[in-house]
């Protein structure tokens, strides 16, 4: 077995891992970043969904919870999920940090705000460009405005986005400020090494100290042992828990998993909106209980989020140019778990949507439908498997229940959170507020898996910001 000795080994190259890697490299530490996915540069990417989705997404885009009613989408590529994200840079509501403090996570709102500002400056975050806002997003904005919902144009880190509308299969133009093209690229310039297609299988540890990381590299599966003074696990909400559990680190690992659960409903308009011709996501409505985001997808992804069977589905797809989609995002309670499957030896996500969250999701869908009607939609289709369409707001109001179980709707999440919850109380959390795993000296977790509860908004800005706050302390241990 080959061996490598470094100061800092970061497992995972997404938003959290890239910031820590940059901090370590800038301090002159020997830094190695392991990424289980391949490196895909903008020139390697295409707009072919059939090939790009399975190539970029974890488990080929087929990651589901154990009861198979929630798709969980995450990136497996250098840069992690940021490569596939819309780089919507929303800040978490301060009440979330207050809630975290109540759970023993010492996160100061002030220091998070400073970190947000720093990240937003470094990633050149701007309000979505007028040139790339789609007609469908404008309709959504107008509808929400009419209802007095205070819609806003999103803050985004997409550089000089041309508005091709294919963010979720990677940015072929290289304008998106994803982690691989920003923090990770800077880390490499400062001397860090990134090893793609390197699967961290197990952490070697003894007496509260990690000695090394066992890795399989490339398709051939060459074995490598990385010995490091500090190991930072940043493989995302599911992967980080999986690696720790596989390594025998179990206390509170894989607990308090939560999601921003999302559905998409579609409004059919008389005129052609061409929602695919522009930035996929530019307008939103934030409420205390849910987030509504105007969105659109190219045909294959659109088909997966469009309601109905057979002819019903086909007729809607024929109207693709006329459809305006709205994503309804609801933070779920942290009732999920990650465990190692006894059958497949891989990570298994146990999550049953609490009824309160399902009710919340229904209310979010109702409000989104009202926005679309206010914007002039002639019908709105709910995210149910069997087509359930409403002709006006009154008909919607008269309907007591839109769906009774998660099994009736298409529901997914691109924002899994938790699994290694942060709390200074070892009886409540897996890591303390400095992100070190309880009972260890040199093992850290730095990604969305440390969030004690779901944010309810796109988490990427908070992952970057939290890593900014914590990275100096992590690197100081090396």
């Amino acid at each position: 077995m080959r061996r490598r000795c470094v100061d800092v080994c970061v497992v995972g190259s997404g938003a959290g891992g890239s910031v820590v890697a940059l901090e370590a490299a800038r301090k002159g530490l020997r830094t190695l970043v392991l990424e289980r996915g391949p490196r895909m540069r903008p020139a390697d990417m295409t707009h072919n969904e059939l090939r790009m989705i399975p190539s970029l997404y974890k488990d080929g885009g087929m990651q589901l919870n154990a009861s198979m009613d929630l798709f969980v989408l995450q990136g497996t590529v250098v840069g992690g999920s940021s490569v596939l994200s819309n780089m919507v840079m929303l800040r978490a509501d301060p009440s979330v940090f207050a809630q975290w403090r109540g759970l023993g996570a010492n996160i100061a709102t002030g220091s998070m705000n400073e970190a947000y500002a720093e990240v937003e400056e470094e990633l050149e975050v701007r309000q979505a460009s007028r040139n790339t806002i789609t007609k469908s997003s404008r309709r959504f904005f107008e509808g929400a405005d009419q209802l007095g919902l205070s819609p806003s144009w999103m803050q985004k880190a997409v550089g000089g986005c041309l508005g091709c509308g294919q963010c979720n299969v990677g940015c072929t133009f290289g304008t998106k400020k994803s982690a691989d093209l920003t923090y990770l690229a800077q880390a490499e310039s400062a001397g860090a090494e990134v090893l793609p297609e390197a699967l961290a299988e197990k952490l070697e540890h003894r007496a509260g100290a990690v000695r090394g990381v066992r890795v399989r590299v490339g398709r051939g599966g060459e074995e490598l042992l990385v010995q490091a003074r500090v190991v930072v696990v940043a493989g995302g909400a599911i992967g980080s828990s999986g690696l720790l559990l596989a390594s025998g680190v179990t206390k509170h690992i894989g607990t308090r998993v939560s999601f921003n659960a999302a559905t998409a409903l579609a409004g059919d308009f008389e005129d052609e909106l061409d929602g695919f011709d522009g930035d996929q996501m530019t307008a939103c409505v934030r409420t205390p209980n849910w987030l509504l985001e105007a969105t659109h997808n190219p045909p294959m992804s659109a088909a997966l989020t469009t309601a109905g069977w057979g002819g019903d589905h086909g007729r809607q797809m024929q109207r693709l140019r006329h459809l305006a989609y709205v994503g309804c995002i609801v933070p779920t309670a942290p009732v999920g778990r990650v465990r190692l499957s006894r059958f497949t030896q891989g990570e298994e996500i146990l999550f049953k949507m609490p009824s309160a969250d399902l009710a919340n999701l229904e209310q979010a869908n109702r409000q989104a439908a009202q926005v679309l009607f206010a914007a002039g939609a002639r019908s709105v289709a709910m995210p149910t498997h069997r087509l359930r369409s409403f002709a006006d707001a009154e008909e919607l109001r008269r309907t007591p229940r839109l769906f009774r179980s998660i099994g009736e709707i298409s529901c997914g999440s691109s924002h899994p959170q938790g699994g290694n919850p942060m709390s200074d109380d070892p009886e409540l959390g897996a890591v303390d507020s400095s992100l070190v795993v309880h009972g260890f000296d040199n093992l850290f977790v730095c990604d969305a898996s440390v969030f004690p509860t779901a944010l309810g908004v796109n988490p990427i800005n908070t992952i970057f910001a939290l890593a900014k706050v914590k990275a100096p302390g992590i690197v100081a241990r090396a």
Binding site: R51, I53, G60, C164, P298, A303, L304, W309
Partner: protein, 169 residues
């Protein structure tokens, strides 16, 4: 006791038919998928054969190289064989309309196993709408063909075109 430590994944791989190198599905599974695609493709605006849909799904699975692709194979086998219990015939042996009615009914009102199997509709959607033919049928305009991008390309080509000979005259 090696049997006890054999993961389900391995067990399924050993039970399911052999897959040729470079493929994700066995011939048998591919045929089952075409039968399902034929039934579920009804009403789609995309003119595409059931074989092409199955080929597209297989491309998706090959590109993904997912450890969980065995779930898809198990799902296809389940869908093919489960109807034997209630109808006495395999799914692919039914006529198209009978197959369609059976699937729709079971996916919506059947046992939990069937409702899990309803995920197969996503595979068919991928196979249909991931195809180039879907762009025309949905009137989706490819990025290079959109007016905004054509203007950008034209602007760039002005910059990149070398000066004409007359410019030196």
């Amino acid at each position: 006791m090696p049997f006890i430590t054999l993961p389900l994944e391995e067990l399924v791989y050993r039970t399911l038919p052999r897959v040729d190198p470079g493929r994700a599905l066995s011939n048998w599974e591919w045929k089952v998928l075409t039968a399902i695609a034929e039934a579920l493709h009804e009403g789609s605006p995309v003119a595409i054969s059931k074989e092409q849909i199955a080929d597209n799904v297989e491309t998706f699975l090959i590109c993904g190289n997912s450890r969980r692709a065995f779930r898809v194979r198990a799902l296809l086998a389940t869908l093919e064989l489960l109807p034997v219990v209630s109808t006495g015939s395999r799914l692919s042996q039914m006529g198209v309309s009978e197959r369609r009615a059976f699937l729709y009914h079971k996916f919506e009102h059947g046992h939990r196993v069937y409702r899990l199997c309803a995920k197969v509709r996503y595979l068919v959607f991928m196979g249909v709408y991931g195809d180039e033919a879907a762009k025309g049928a949905t009137q989706f305009v490819d990025v290079p063909n959109r007016p905004r991008f054509q203007r950008k390309r034209a602007a760039l080509s002005v910059v990149r075109t070398p000066p004409s000979v007359s410019a030196y005259a």
